[in-house]
């Protein structure tokens, strides 16, 4: 049971909202000590694994390109483009991205990701679609702020759903290869093609789950838009002076404490 000390440190540390990097290091040291390592050995093990796992930080190389495009109006253009299509709603855009992500993923392609697709393209398009026909005061209101947060969250969720629940359909995916190597070691030989086939039902169910969530989001957006149009009927209410702006029934909580550490 002592081996779980690191897990306890993580749970308690994150619950107390201590800095996650520090919590991880303390948890690592505790786990290492339990495993009978000396502090120097722990430091070396951490450093070694940190270097081995540099791949997860390579997204940083895309930041200058994304930033440069944003500086010149990429996100504004994504918003503007989507407003020309009346049929485009935040939910439909999110779902279309999910389908595209799933299809390409099933063929072993990693097209997408939060830094390269969601932030610069999908999120501004989705929020842009929700902004259609709203006055600038309405868009600047706390109610819309909260709505736009929920839209972006669903964008992020669709990336994760597309990624996780379709990658095993690809016969040569890392996940299937790992399953095969583990099971082969236990004398239960499996074929990659069989496994890929049985990954399909879960992929379809995940599509259905996201479909329901996107539909709910679109309904939610239409309701919020109606309320926003009532609160901010047209541009003459510029500045959001109407008192009802903050008194809506929106129960979505935003904790300011969490926004920056």
């Amino acid at each position: 049971m002592l081996s779980l000390i690191g897990v306890v440190v993580i749970v308690v540390g994150l619950a107390l909202r201590l800095n996650a990097l520090l919590v991880v290091l303390v948890a690592g040291f505790c786990s290492g000590l339990v495993a009978g390592m000396t502090p120097t050995e722990i430091l070396e093990a951490l450093g070694h694994a940190f270097t081995q796992n540099r791949a997860v930080s390579l997204f940083i190389i895309t930041l200058p390109v994304i930033g440069l495009l944003e500086r010149n109006g990429l996100r504004d253009q994504a918003e503007r483009l989507v407003q020309k299509f009346r049929a485009a709603s935040a939910g439909r855009i999110t779902l279309s991205y999910l389908v595209l992500r799933k299809l390409t993923n099933a063929f072993g392609l990693q097209l997408g990701g939060h830094p390269a697709m969601i932030r610069p393209l999908i999120a501004p398009m989705s929020v842009g679609a929700a902004e259609r026909d709203l006055s600038s005061a309405a868009i600047a209101s706390p109610r819309f702020h909260s709505l736009s947060q929920r839209i972006r969250v669903l964008n992020a969720v669709s990336e994760n759903f597309g990624n996780f629940f379709s990658q095993l359909i690809f016969v040569a995916s890392g996940g299937l290869l790992l399953i095969k190597s583990v099971l082969d070691k236990s004398d239960a030989s499996v074929s990659l093609a069989d496994m890929a086939l049985y990954a399909i039902p879960t992929a379809l169910i995940s599509l259905l789950v996201m479909f329901v969530m996107c539909r709910r989001l679109d309904r939610n957006i239409r309701r919020e838009q109606r309320l926003l149009r009532e609160e901010y009927p047209d541009l003459s209410y510029e500045g959001g002076v109407k008192e009802s702006a903050d008194s809506g029934s929106d129960t979505h909580s935003i904790s300011v404490r969490e926004s920056q550490s």
Partner: protein, 303 residues
Amino acid sequence: MSGIDILYLITGLATMAFAVLTLTDRDHPRRLGTSAFWMIFGISLAFGGWLPDAVVGLAMLALALLAAAGQLGLGNYGQLSDTVRKARMQRFGSRLFIPALLIPAGTFIYTLTTGQSALVGLGVATLLAFAVALLMLRERPTTGLQEGRRLADSIGWAAILPQFLAALGLLFDQAGVGQTIAELVSSVVPDTSLVACVIAYCLGMAIFTMLMGNGFAAFAVITSGIGYPLVIALHGGNPAIVGVLGMLSGYCGTLMTPMAANFNIVPAALLELDDRYHIIRTQIVPALVMLTANISLMLLLAF
């Protein structure tokens, strides 16, 4: 030097450039701390393969202390005004999408034609997209780095959390966290019941993935501890079906844990969400639905 090592070197050098630009940013309220943070991280990224492991370990300690002491902040990135930016948007229009789409498309084509890893493809495609963006927008490379620094600062220390967590996974492994979980679960499961064994395996995958932040790390441990002996050997489950649905159950855990920072925490920062845990909170119910679906599918198909 292999392609991937060159990519680490370039990414590390870019990160070090963020540090240098931060140092020259007189308006930065946390100039020294933020600069030191990106410099240390950039060095570990670029030269990690050549540095002694203990030095990298010390660098991690320094990074964690800088972040915990609140030494990171936002500076002045020479942003354009809304009017100027919108005017530029009018001028470039949808051509702005070209470099953005060049990253995924280039990654795909490079990977397909050279057969090298997708990461190298990502690096090559990104550098190409950077060059195209600079030419098209007539911007200077330093402006690009300045913009990269803006995004890196806006993500903050969460940007390097995934790499920290991956390192922690190794120590969890050494301490035997997985074996303990597997023993714990199998000791409470009545192994005569097929349903109980399947639920224990899938739940065990999800829970252990939540602790490790990674389904792959959970799979070997939980499958050899619960999945193989109880579900496959004892009850005769089809190994291919049990294996793939077990892994997919692990992925349900990934959606519910801050330990999978690159999927749940970094995106929250990238998308400028007020609540760092908003994505996880939203994913809990759908992830539980998916876990129930995987358990049901396993019971339905594997026996």
